[in-house]
């Protein structure tokens, strides 16, 4: 088991390095902004005298030397303390923790829907007939090229404003998840489908497929049970892109559909120059990316037995 421990340690170390790098970048970039950060805290339409300015400077530790601020920042980061938001005047970790659930919920359902759609469409359109593939390719192209902002508004206009089937914004109703999830999932599903079909068609030309067919397996079984695994690998490697799309998509979707979540506070933080909150979002995103990366590596092992060589499982 030794090598396993080492592997885990290496991976953990790498993960920490990534998070540290992202946090340091966020810290440094924000230091490059010239001028007095107290200005960013109070904004310009405030009536604040010099004494209050000093109080603010001291409260956020802005009166200390930069290296000290950096070390303090990293130290706090280790304990999960992301500092106090300039504008919300609350601990950043608390704000993010509170907003994590709605975003996670949205991302989870969007992922499930995207994968489901991609698999179904891939399997359905990779037969001998060419026309389903062509039709699907056109639809995919249109969906991928549609800004999700516009897509969201169109879905709202049709299903909420006109038909009245679904509520416009989140008011605690489960139905309010439907449109946001579809808006977030569609572009992802379209890209996944393109990649997976490419892989599936390649796999279907392989000799093992001929063997499987010769054994008398039905066409759907061949496609979904054997060839799809091969198609899934290239799709899995897109996980980084996938995560990024979910996070950035959440900013758009949460604002269009007036949902709470990380995307909503991110936009608010950026517009109001809430630097600690922006730093917190960067650190959180780094952690999410690292976590997703690890999960995907494990998934690859599950999908492709050939990668499990070291674990003693024979290559297929």
């Amino acid at each position: 088991m030794r090598p396993v421990v080492r592997q885990v340690a290496v991976r953990l170390g790498g993960a920490l390095l990534v998070v540290w790098g992202a946090a340091s970048c966020a810290f440094l970039v924000l230091q490059l902004v010239p001028g007095d950060p107290v200005r960013a805290v109070v904004g310009a339409n405030a009536l604040v005298d010099a004494g209050q300015r000093e109080e603010i400077r001291h409260h956020y530790g802005l009166d200390r030397p930069l290296p000290v601020q950096y070390v303090t920042y990293l130290g706090h980061l280790l304990t999960g303390d992301l500092g106090d938001s300039y504008q919300l005047q609350q601990p950043v970790s608390g704000v993010l923790a509170q907003q994590l659930r709605p975003t996670a919920e949205l991302a989870l359902y969007a992922t499930l829907l995207a994968v489901l759609l991609a698999v179904v469409v891939t399997v359905a359109t990779s037969g001998r007939a060419r026309w389903p593939r062509r039709l699907s390719a056109v639809v995919e192209l249109v969906v991928v090229s549609t800004p999700s902002f516009w897509l969201g508004i169109m879905l709202l206009t049709l299903f909420s404003f006109r038909l009245g089937w679904l509520p416009v914004s989140d008011s605690g109703d489960v139905r309010s998840l439907v449109l946001p999830v579809i808006t977030l999932a569609l572009p992802i599903a379209a890209v996944l489908t393109q990649v997976m079909r490419e892989g599936l068609l390649d796999a279907l030309r392989s000799p093992f497929v001929l063997t499987a067919r010769a054994r008398g397996l039905t066409e759907p079984a061949v496609r979904s049970r054997h060839a799809l695994r091969h198609a899934a690998l290239p799709a899995l490697t897109l996980a980084g892109w996938f995560t990024g799309t979910l996070l950035s998509g959440a900013v758009v979707v949460e604002n269009v559909f007036a949902r709470s979540g990380i995307g909503r506070v991110t936009l608010q933080a950026v517009t109001s120059r809430d630097l600690p909150l922006v730093q917190g979002v960067v650190a959180l995103s780094a952690v999410v990316f690292v976590a997703v990366g690890t999960v995907v590596e494990l998934l690859c092992l599950a999908v492709d037995p050939r990668l499990r060589g070291a674990t003693g499982v024979k290559a297929a």
């Binding site: 902004v33 010239p34 001028g35 007095d36 950060p37 200005r39 960013a40 109070v42 904004g43 310009a44 339409n45 405030a46 009536l47 604040v48 005298d49 010099a50 004494g51 209050q52 300015r53 109080e55 603010i56 409260h59 106090d84 504008q87 919300l88 005047q89 609350q90 601990p91 704000v95 509170q98 907003q99 709605p102 508004i153 709202l156 206009t157 909420s160 404003f161 006109r162 009245g164 509520p167 416009v168 914004s169 989140d170 008011s171 949460e254 604002n255 269009v256 559909f257 007036a258 949902r259 709470s260 979540g261 909503r264 506070v265 936009l267 608010q268 517009t271 109001s272 120059r273 809430d274």
Partner: protein, 543 residues
Amino acid sequence: MQLRRTVRRAALLSALVLAAVPACSAGGSSSAGGAPHSGGSLVYATNQEPDCWDPHTSAQDITAFVQRPVFDSLVYQAPNGDLEPWLAEKWTIGDGGRSYVFTLRRGVTFHDGTPVDAAAVKANLDHITARSTRSQYAAGLLGPYRDTTVKSRYVVEVRFTRPYAPFLQAAGTTYLGIESPASLKAGADKLCAGTTAVGSGPFKAASYVRGQQRGYTRNAAYAWAPSGAGHSGPARLSSFTIRFITEDATRVGALTSGQVDAAAEPPAQQIGTVKRDARLSVVSKDVPGAVDAFYLNTRSTLFSDIRVRRAFQHAVDLDTVVRSVFQGTASRAWSALSPTTPHSYDASLKNSWPYDPKLAARLLDQAGWTGRDSQGYRTKNGRTLTVVAPVYGEPSLFSQAVQGSLKKAGIELDLAASTDATEVSTLLDKGKYDLVETSWARADGDILGHFFLSSQTSEGGGHNFSRLADPQVDTWLEQAEAAQDPEAREAAYAKVQRRTIDQAVVVPAYVVRSTVGVNKRVHGLRLGISAWPEFYPAWVEAR
């Protein structure tokens, strides 16, 4: 205090953006619909969500708006600007305007059951002025504040270091709202989080989900409404909800599809749609305070010449620009103050400085700007007539339209856009600009002092962007601040408005209008003094 909402985000800088979204409003949508009906609820969609929910700390208009139903104030400023007793049943002003003694109404209780007494008022003023509150606006509203003394159970004295007449109006704002002393002990982070607001208002704060909505439930014990509130006793609505829908299209769609009962700030191009809808109506009101205006830097090389300032004043075709950009959602301004600013607007300025390109050309010729460069801009000794205007973020459609209008007069408006707030504020502090465009909502002429008193420099946290140091203007503004007689104050403010136009220190541009689209099942949702909706007198028809 209204409009500040947008402005403050980008800080005053955002003021520079001009694009400031107007505050909401409510003029009063009641008409037919039978007798007022008690019970029921409504959903109001607003386009902004407060950062910090404590009006003692926050400078945002939206914070004042969302907490108004929860926090009462010592005095009430009616929509016509009159000040009326509220938590204070009467007051006397002594010591030459340095002392305000309030006698509180008895029998008033906070939502937590504790009484509203002199000690509670003192606790609030102490909280506002405490350094640890980091007040961004409320403490500033208190001006030359000295201290507060409890005289007896229901009598409290607030003292200032110099006569300070604007205090009563300030005391009527939500920023100086009276919160339960017990809730104040929760600390800034809890108060800012918006989940612990306890006041004495007609509605109690209910659940709040950031990014989504805030609920309100009726305070059944409410019996201390001011006489001008349009209703008395407990509120008619048994509850209501404010939903935060920042996306314009979503908010308007929610209104037109009946999913919300009222929605703030429909975009200009959608107001027509809302008006044509038989189930909807639109209420609007001009936001009081300092209108959106160009403050010309009287000490810049360019604008230290009054002829150039006057030329600028007459060179912009404001009527056309305001009409085409705002399509009726804002009107052209003639004074630095909005017409809805109580007891201070000088109406005689109307039409006194019309668009006059010939006059502008003559003035520029006299000032020596006689040459022309290849693009048609005027030049003098090889220098182009360029007006530098720092802009935070993207230049608004309006400032771009003004740019186009000025080009015809041979003036180049350089909208020095920067997304860096600190960079822009450094420019402002150092006076490295020719003009600043901004606005500031407040229902009192005292706002003029923030823009024209020689002591209100940008470095010192003031907004004297014209860098004006006119002893005559200073004297009038100080007189107004010290005078208790509303007519004397009005006369002094009128002089300041006329002088600043005559000297072309400021070029007022447009009056921001607050607009709310309202479903006709809602009645009595009126726009208060600050042009934000007041929920207390509102009622809804049963569905």
